[in-house]
Structure formats: structure tokens, C-alpha cells
Symmetry: C2
Subunit: 484 residues, 2 copies
């Protein structure tokens, strides 16, 4: 073979149209599909060829590929877009988001530097300003200020890591030794805080607490500011330096909202100011609605903030938005410039090179899908999306509250409802299994302390899949009711 | 507004078909477009609205979006898919890759755990085994062995970081203190090695050489094994512990291939075995052709290996493949398991949870696009793709070698040709500017030592865009010839 057998443009058009239709059909089918896969370990592996095909696909290969999608792949998926998906946090897909992902794949540019696609960088900058304003972030976090701005990261885990690295670099410049640096978060903060500390070398194992403080919470599972103050004072006495505080707006277990203002007050007067990162991965989407902006009280003290439009704001994975008041701290921590990346615009200082804001070097054009989503829905449309789900969550909460069999395990904030059965973990575990084995809904679980501080198994119902409507939550309630 | 204004399935089909056609048209237009953008800093920013639209798009909004793609976005891109793109390394797009990206966006599942989409994990496992075999990796790096296997990372930078973290965790278990750990790579290794060391806390700045050794190279810019041995001996005398060696198959500046076997020999007899990572980000694609497998001699000693099908193997960004002989070392370094992620299959130990192989938690279904690409092209088709470009690179190299005005700055290995003009950097700089300002080609640059060890400005011509054919390289030669 002397030439690679590229798809002809005609065949690409034809297959592209078919796969667009296939996606529409897939979404239409979700209503009647079991949410979770019944696959057992190895089921797909045993049905795939052991080795790659030596020869190019023949005329029928794409028919077989599409058939295999239906017969091999789809049955092995958890359908995160099902209207009956209530597990973890939502992972929103929307048709404008799919179209944006498609165009981005078709262009396939690498916006590592401004110079390697100016429009990719500038559209991303403007999207960060748009969304920053939409959710009520102070101007100092946007490019409208002289030192702030934001970028798209892959996930909130990466934003947490980048924030920690910026914190470490800033503390190092202030003369703090790496071995003195301490990290603080609530015990309900996301596991990515510990993972970031491990990656940065501040913790040897997930259990290493030499320099990581996971602080006690109040009855609503929010970080207790006095616990923070106490830990800081102990560390200062021991010659350690508070370097990084991660506050969470909407913890994974129960959507607890840490009190930013009180946290900020606890940090006043410290000789070296710790970096405060705010992880609003899930709940941040709700900030498009002014009624949730109370959570941002005290945000002025934060150094960085992130949330994931790919969770609950109709933007396909991956899209975490991260803002900082001090973009220089990010680039100080992450910029390494070999000769082969030098270029005139970068050296002019007039442009943003997003490679210096992130772990990887290369980066795709993710701003496009966000642009499509915002232009299609408008801020009002996004608010309707959030408010619709919150109303459904409230209705479910009301049902549970009105029924003596159930205990609400935490106050509902937006779309997440956490509850358990009275009478210990075993009935709750059986309820979880019955719901998920039914295929008619998928919910996930966590453990939360009850009013006496005993850790209890808790079911989490996160309402946020775009297709979820009143009927689906009603059916979930019937399922819970019947299985309980 | 009480309901989010989702796109109707009918309108999605219609717009999806149009954007598929738009992508085909875009690719057809690349032949006649200038490769680089003439945009100046701020050009797009000044043309975008300052704030997000409050209301959803009206009936004409998608017409305006598509018009804006043409008028605002495309003119601000560097066209990485242009047949005249010869800069950096290629960033391959193919129509099967676009279709795979599309389906993945349409499904939008999160395969963080096996349980959250078994087929996503198992297809990825099998793709890693397929490609491992295709490029001649020993079985111990695949899931056919009991301890090996691989996964898709976003970029080679992430693979390098993950490998370094695995190295650090393994050394820590052997009792090595973090402060003793040393990292080795050639001075031509990718900047991501230093960046990974900074992230992991082994270097404070890009220039910090307390524990990072960037070793001297031979005349072909390959790591000098004796320099490695010397550095190791000095470090051992100083009480430090060699922990991580990054060898490169195909450096960014000149595609130099570090000698794996000789490197392995230098490490023999060390009390604590350093982790050896092999970064073949670009050149790894060529290993689908047996004639390049000589590079893999000595690979048995490596602990991990990666290359990027998103560079030169027709798979859309992002897709870095990383294999290891010791998958337990990756998960030891990266696994943090909160209650809300616990599940029966994970605890059975029968499944792979890819979240523990990577920095982020969430992950998209990237194996689909690779599956589409391999099934469409077959291994023979991929070999034709590589061999076609290599033949063009050789032809350009022959032209340059036969012309006294030019000096080849390094031996050509596969598709990258590095050269300069005789007579100092200034004429070479002018040549670079003339080529790139013409819009008729884009090449990038680096600095490489000449035969007397003086660093010289060098032009890099990387031939690898899928649409590049004989004619485009001929026209590039005419451009070089005329401008020189």
C-alpha cells in the first residue's frame, strides 16, 4: 500500500450524517434503556479481536463499526445522559455542546500558545469573562482586571492541583520551605485535594496528615472556621506555614457549602497569606441564578475559583472553568519555555499563553462548545435548566421529609438530595441495591455522620441530567417508596 | 422562562449535518488558505460581545453562529491540518478520528471507574494491547501480562508526570526520602520533564538543578550514556538516589533517539533501580513500521513508555498512549478512594479503574476514536501514512544536502528535517520569517549545537499533516530555495 486510505469527503459526509442521526436516536432511546450496564468484567474484552486488523476496513467496515457501537459498546455503558441518572454528579451533554465538540474535533487545532491559534485563546478568554460575570464573580477574577483571568482546565482535580502549585510557588518566593507548607480543607472536601497534595509532594500517602489538615465540620457538613483557626495556630506554633486552603461550595457527599467569609476572617493577620482556592465543581453552575449568590459572600479573599460547566451547565466533558485574581502566580508555577516554543507575541507580553496555566502543554479548542451552549441557551435558558432541576429536588425532598421511614441526611442546597432509611445501614444498603438493580434509576451513595456523629450510609440523588423531568423524579420516588 | 430551550432532535440533526459538511468544506479549503493567522493580539476580543446574551438565541442564531465560525474564528486559527503545516510536530486529524470524537461527545459518558461504563474501560484496555503489539512493545507492557498494561492520557506531559510520580512512590516504599531523589534526562528532553519535576516538588524553578540532571548529548543530540553514568556516580557519592530517568525516542528539537540499551546498562547494579520512562511522543507513531523498531532495543529495562497517536497517527487530539510494566506502581501513586467512589467491582480487584492511572478523576471515552481510526486504516494503512511522509522528508533532506547554501543540523530519523543556512543565525532567522510570512508554509525553529558546539538557530520541518503530499513539499522547497 503506498497511500493511506483516507475517507473520501463524500463518504465522511455520509457517515457523519448517519452518526449525527445515531446520536439523536441514542438520546431518544435513553427513556427506555436501563440506566446501568449489566456487563460483567471481561464481557467486552472477550468479544473484541485480540489484535488490530492488518488491512484497512473494506466497503462494509463502517456498517460493522456502527453495528458494533449498538451491539458491543452501548450495552456496556452507564448512560450518564439518561433522564434516570441520579448518581455521583451529573455529566451534562447538550446538543449545542455536541456540535461544539464536533467543530472543535474537525478543526483540531492546538492552542498551546496564543500564536498557535489566536482565536482559540481569545475566545476562551472572553468565555471566562462571560461566565465569570454570569455567576457573579468579582471583576478582579476576570480579564477586565489587570492581574486576574481564567482558563479552561480539564477537570476540577486539575484546577485544585494548579491552585496548589501556584500557592506553593508563591510561598516559596516568600521564603517558605517546601517542608513547612500546610494544606487545609474540610474532611468533606473532594479527594482531589489529597491527590493534589500527593502529586505536589506534600503528602506521601492518602492517609499522610503530616502537612494536610482535613478539618472537622458542623452539623451541616460545612468546614468549621474555628477548627481551621485552631489547626493554623497549632501549625504556626510548630513552625509550619499555612500555605493552601481549599474551600468547597458544594461538597461531593452532601453539597455542603463552606463559609467563605468566616474562613477569610480566620486567615486575617497571618504573616504569609495562604492561597485560598474555592472548589465549586458542581454547585458553581447554580450561581447563574442570583438566588444562590449568597455562597459567594467572602469570595474577594479567595485567590482562585473553579466550577465545571461539564457537570451541570449543559457543556460536554471536559470543561472546568478556573479563575484567579493572580494569574502571574499560575504562570510562575507552571511556565517552562524551551527554545522551540519561543515566539514574538509571547515575548511581547501582550498575549496569554494558556500552556502556562495548566499541567499539559497541548490543548484543544474547548471554548467553542461553551460558546455554542451560551449562545444557544442564553443566561436565562441556563437559569431555567438549573431552576427546573432544583424544583424537582425540592419536591423529592418534600416527599422524603413527609415520610417517617426516611431521614434527610443533610440540608438540601440545590439539586442534591441525601437521605437514608431509619434503622441502620443495612436497610439503606438494600434500598440502594434494589433501586440500582431495577435499571429504572441509578443513584449513588456516601457516608455522613448522623446527629450523634455516627457515620451512616446515605443515598445521594443528584438531579441534573438534561432530560430529567417531573415524571422521572416521580417514578424514582415510586421506586424508593416501593423498595423501602 | 420555565424550561431550558433545548435543541429539538430535528434541529440537531439538521445542524449536525450542516456542521459535518462545514468540516468537510473547511478541510477542502485548507489547500488555498494561508497556514497561519494574520490576527494581532485582541483582534477577536474586540469583535466579541463583552457579556453573555441574556436571552436564548432566536431562530436566526445558529445561522449567525455558523457565519461567525467562518468570519471570526477560522481567520484567527493556525491551520494545523493544512497540507502546508510543517511546524512543531503534527497534530493529526482524520475523518475517522472526527467521527469517533463525535460519537464520544454524543454519548458523553464518564469512564472514571470500570463501573461507570465498563465498555469504555475495556475498549481502552484492548486498544492499548492492539497498539502495543502494533508498535512492537514487549508483552510485559500489555494487559496480556499479569502486571502490565496501559491507558490513554491527555498528553505526553501528563504521561511523564504520572511516570515520575510512580517512580517517586516506588522509591519512597524502598525507603528513599523525597529530598534525595534525582531525575535524569538529556538536555534535549522535552520541557515537560522539568515541568513534571517542578510539579512533583523536585525542582523549585525551571533552572533548579539541585536534583534534576539534564545530561550532555553526542553529536547527534542523543543522551550520552557515559554522562548519565557519571552523573549517577556523583549523585550516589553525594548521598542522593537516582530515581527517575526519562529517555526520549525522538526529541522535539531534532528527533534524536536516546540509546535505550546503553542507558539500561548504565543503570545495572544500582541498589535501588530508578524508574525508566521512555517518551516517544512523536516518533512512537513510526514504530508501526518494523524498519524503525531498532529504537526499541533495550526497551525491556524501561518501566513505562508513551507516544501520542494525536501527533502522527491520525487520531484526533487528545490521545497519548502510556504503557507500564508495573501498573501497581501507578495506582500506588495515584489512588485515593473516598466512600462515594467505592463499588463492588472495584473492590473485587477484577477490574481496572482508570481514574487511578491519571491526574484527573473524570475521563471521557477517548478509546472510541482510536478504535475507529485503526479499524478504518488497518495497520497497513497506518504504515502507508507514516512511510509516505518519511519519503517526503527524505526527498527534502536530499535537496538540502545537495545544496551548498544549507547545513543539515541533525541526522534525519523519520519525518523531521532540521537545517540552517550557512553563515550564522541572521540569514536563518530571515529565512524563517520569509517562509512563515508567505502564508504558503509554516515551519518552526529550535537551537542546536553545530559541530563545534556553538548553538545555532535551526529550522524544523516536520512532515506529518495527513493532507501533505509530494506537491506541498515541492512547493516548500521552492519557497526555501527562493527565500534563501
Amino acid at each position: 500500500m503506498t497511500e493511506a486510505p483516507h475517507l473520501s469527503p463524500e463518504r465522511f459526509r455520509e457517515l457523519g450524517h448517519r452518526l449525527i442521526d445515531w446520536i439523536a436516536d441514542y438520546h431518544a432511546s435513553l427513556e427506555t434503556r436501563a440506566v446501568t450496564s449489566r456487563a460483567r468484567p471481561g464481557d467486552l474484552l472477550t468479544r473484541l479481536a485480540e489484535s488490530a486488523p492488518e488491512q484497512p476496513g473494506d466497503a462494509g467496515e463502517w456498517e460493522r463499526i456502527i453495528r458494533d457501537l449498538d451491539e458491543l459498546i452501548v450495552p456496556g455503558l452507564m448512560h450518564w445522559q439518561s433522564p434516570r441518572f441520579f448518581g455521583y454528579f451529573p455529566c451534562n451533554c447538550s446538543m449545542p455542546g455536541v456540535l461544539g465538540s464536533l467543530v472543535s474535533a474537525g478543526l483540531n487545532v492546538n492552542g498551546m500558545l496564543w500564536a498557535t491559534s489566536p482565536a482559540a485563546t481569545e475566545l476562551e478568554m472572553r468565555m471566562l469573562d462571560w461566565v465569570g460575570e454570569m455567576i457573579g464573580l468579582p471583576e478582579q477574577f476576570t480579564f477586565r482586571s489587570s492581574r486576574g483571568g481564567g482558563c479552561i482546565q480539564g477537570t476540577a482535580s486539575e484546577a485544585t492541583l494548579v491552585a496548589l502549585l501556584a500557592a506553593r510557588a508563591r510561598a516559596m518566593r516568600a521564603g517558605v520551605d517546601g517542608a513547612q507548607m500546610c494544606v487545609y480543607a474540610s474532611r468533606h472536601a473532594h479527594s482531589s485535594v489529597i491527590k493534589a497534595a500527593m502529586i505536589a509532594g506534600l503528602a506521601a500517602t492518602p492517609e499522610d496528615r503530616a502537612r494536610v489538615r482535613l478539618l472537622e465540620c458542623d452539623v451541616a457538613h460545612r468546614l468549621d472556621p474555628l477548627a481551621l483557626r485552631g489547626a493554623i495556630e497549632r501549625d504556626l506554633r510548630d513552625g509550619l506555614v499555612p500555605t493552601f486552603v481549599c474551600a468547597t461550595l458544594g461538597t461531593t457527599s452532601s453539597e455542603a457549602v463552606d463559609p467563605l467569609e468566616a474562613i477569610g476572617r480566620m486567615l486575617e493577620g497571618l504573616e504569609i497569606e495562604p492561597w485560598v482556592h474555592v472548589d465549586a465543581a458542581y454547585t458553581g453552575a447554580a450561581l447563574v441564578c442570583p438566588e444562590y449568590r449568597w455562597m459567594l459572600e467572602g469570595i474577594e479573599r479567595a485567590d482562585s475559583f473553579c466550577f465545571n460547566p461539564h457537570k451541570w451547565l449543559l457543556t460536554n466533558f471536559d470543561c472546568d472553568l478556573m479563575w484567579t485574581r493572580d494569574r502571574g502566580a499560575l504562570t510562575d508555577a507552571l511556565s517552562v519555555t524551551p527554545e522551540y516554543l519561543r515566539n514574538v507575541p509571547s515575548e511581547s507580553g501582550e498575549v496569554i499563553d494558556y500552556r502556562d496555566w495548566q499541567i499539559p502543554l497541548g490543548r484543544s479548542f474547548r471554548a467553542l462548545k461553551l460558546w455554542f451552549v451560551i449562545r444557544h441557551y442564553g443566561v436565562e435558558g441556563l437559569r431555567a435548566h438549573i431552576r427546573g432541576h432544583v424544583a424537582l429536588a425540592k419536591r423529592l425532598e418534600d416527599r422524603l421529609r413527609g415520610d417517617e421511614r426516611f431521614v434527610l441526611a443533610s440540608p438540601r442546597v440545590t439539586g442534591l438530595v441525601c437521605f437514608r432509611l431509619r434503622g441502620g445501614d443495612e436497610p439503606t444498603q438494600r434500598l440502594l441495591e434494589r433501586i440500582n438493580q431495577s435499571g429504572k434509576a441509578f443513584v449513588s451513595h456516601t457516608r455522613l455522620p448522623d446527629s450523634e456523629g455516627v457515620e451512616r450510609l446515605v443515598l445521594r440523588v443528584a438531579i441534573g441530567a438534561p432530560a430529567t423531568s417531573e415524571r422521572h423524579v416521580e417514578e424514582l420516588w415510586e421506586l424508593i417508596d416501593g423498595a423501602a
